[in-house]
Amino acid sequence: MVERIPILKMGNFLLLSIQVDMHDQLALDLQEDLTAQIVKHRSRGVLIDISALEIVDSFIGRMLSHIAQVSRILDAKVIVVGMQPAVAITLVELGLSLEGIATALNVEKGMRRLEKMVDDDMILEPESGEARDISVEAGD
């Protein structure tokens, strides 16, 4: 049986929840699926819920970093939510601090943070151009 981790689309974002023990093939499939989905839906953000994940190894840690890097190139923000203490300790002991990945305590907070990150990005875009000048004038 081919196991796959379901990826849900929610507006501009993709949601995925890892609820089974990750083995290497599953992780590789997930990377592939996710990148395909990001491109297909032009998603702006990805939320990965790992609150049910109890065992990690260096491979899974690296996979998370990898997903984050690929997503960044595809212009989607990644946020990892609900990491268990034991998992966090293991990753730190393994020397993987997941640089560049945003984290949140639970899905709710993660979603809010992701929205904010994407919004900030939108607001920042015209800042250096004409839009700013216009607003200054409007203010006057």
Binding site: V80, V81, G82, M83, Q84, P85, V87, A88, I89, L91, V92, E93, S97, L98, T103, A104, L105, N106, K109, G110
Partner: protein, 281 residues
């Protein structure tokens, strides 16, 4: 057989030996505040009986099966005495005071072979004495370990300052063991209370070395992985100097001089503002 000669003596003169042994123990000084005479007598009687039985089957190997009852009893006694507050020499005296009456008996009854017998007996009693000392110390160590554990639990409270703000006031020197406990307690509490900010206050920590700094950083990183922010507060001037001197990179960890300052940062982070109430006149 030398062994059976000793066993023979122990069996034949049991009551006499017991009486003289008690006498010797009393002469050495009994801790009447910790133990009463009846208990001493019954302990001594039991040990003599067990000794006689065990000695019948050879006295060369204390680790053998037939010495098990004697070992068990000494173990129990020594552990109990270490808990009750007996001194090491008082515990050892219990076994060693048997020498005097036993040697006297050997001299009376063994004639020419007595020197040999005394040697056998003294070897046996010395080993028994050492055995009971070992367990006396083991008893002490158990007590020390228990105290350490309870101290560990007492000294690592995680408190909630505000909804979403946790604080860990660390007091006393940190070692890797303790930092591990703190780390786990903090992370667990973060999950339970869904707190976004944790303040680690090290005002009460006298010294920080590379190991401790490393552990603190690990805790901060782990908390960050879970989605919480850590603030370290109460770093003393000397400690700050040490950290810089050791070349420990604190990275982007927020540090504040006092818990109050850290709390203000935490509140700002949560978009909470404290306003003093206007005084009505």
């Amino acid at each position: 057989m030398p062994a059976s000669a000793l066993a023979e003596l122990l069996k034949t003169y049991e009551s006499e030996l017991l009486e003289e042994w008690i006498g010797a123990q009393r002469a050495a000084g009994l801790r009447s505040d910790l133990i009463d005479l009846d208990t001493v007598v019954s302990n001594s009687r039991e040990l003599l009986k067990l000794l006689a039985v065990a000695a019948e089957q050879g006295i060369d190997d204390l680790g053998a099966r037939h010495w098990e009852p004697v070992r068990g009893m000494l173990e129990r006694l020594s552990r109990a005495q270490s808990r009750q507050g007996f001194s090491p020499s008082e515990t050892a005296t219990f076994v060693f005071s048997l020498k005097e009456p036993l040697f006297a008996k050997i001299q009376q009854h063994c004639g020419a072979a007595s020197l040999n017998e005394i040697w056998n007996a003294t070897r046996l009693l010395d080993r028994l004495g050492l055995y009971s000392m070992e367990h006396f110390m083991a008893g002490r160590e158990t007590v020390i370990r228990e105290q350490q554990e309870s101290m560990l639990e007492l000294s690592t409270p995680v408190v909630e300052l505000w909804k979403g703000v946790l604080a860990v006031p660390l007091i006393g020197s940190l070692d890797s063991n303790r930092t591990q406990v703190v780390m786990e307690a903090l992370l667990q509490k973060i999950v339970e209370t869904e707190s976004e900010i944790a303040i680690i206050d090290i005002t009460g920590v006298p010294t920080v070395d590379t190991m401790v700094a490393q552990h603190l950083l690990k805790t901060v990183t782990a908390a960050k992985l879970m989605g919480a922010k850590c603030i370290i507060s109460g770093i003393r001037p000397q400690i700050a100097a040490t950290i810089v001197h050791l070349g420990v990179e604190l990275g982007d960890v927020i540090t504040k001089s006092s818990l109050a300052d850290a709390f203000v940062v935490a509140l700002r982070e949560l978009d909470v503002r404290l306003v003093s109430r206007p005084v009505l006149r």
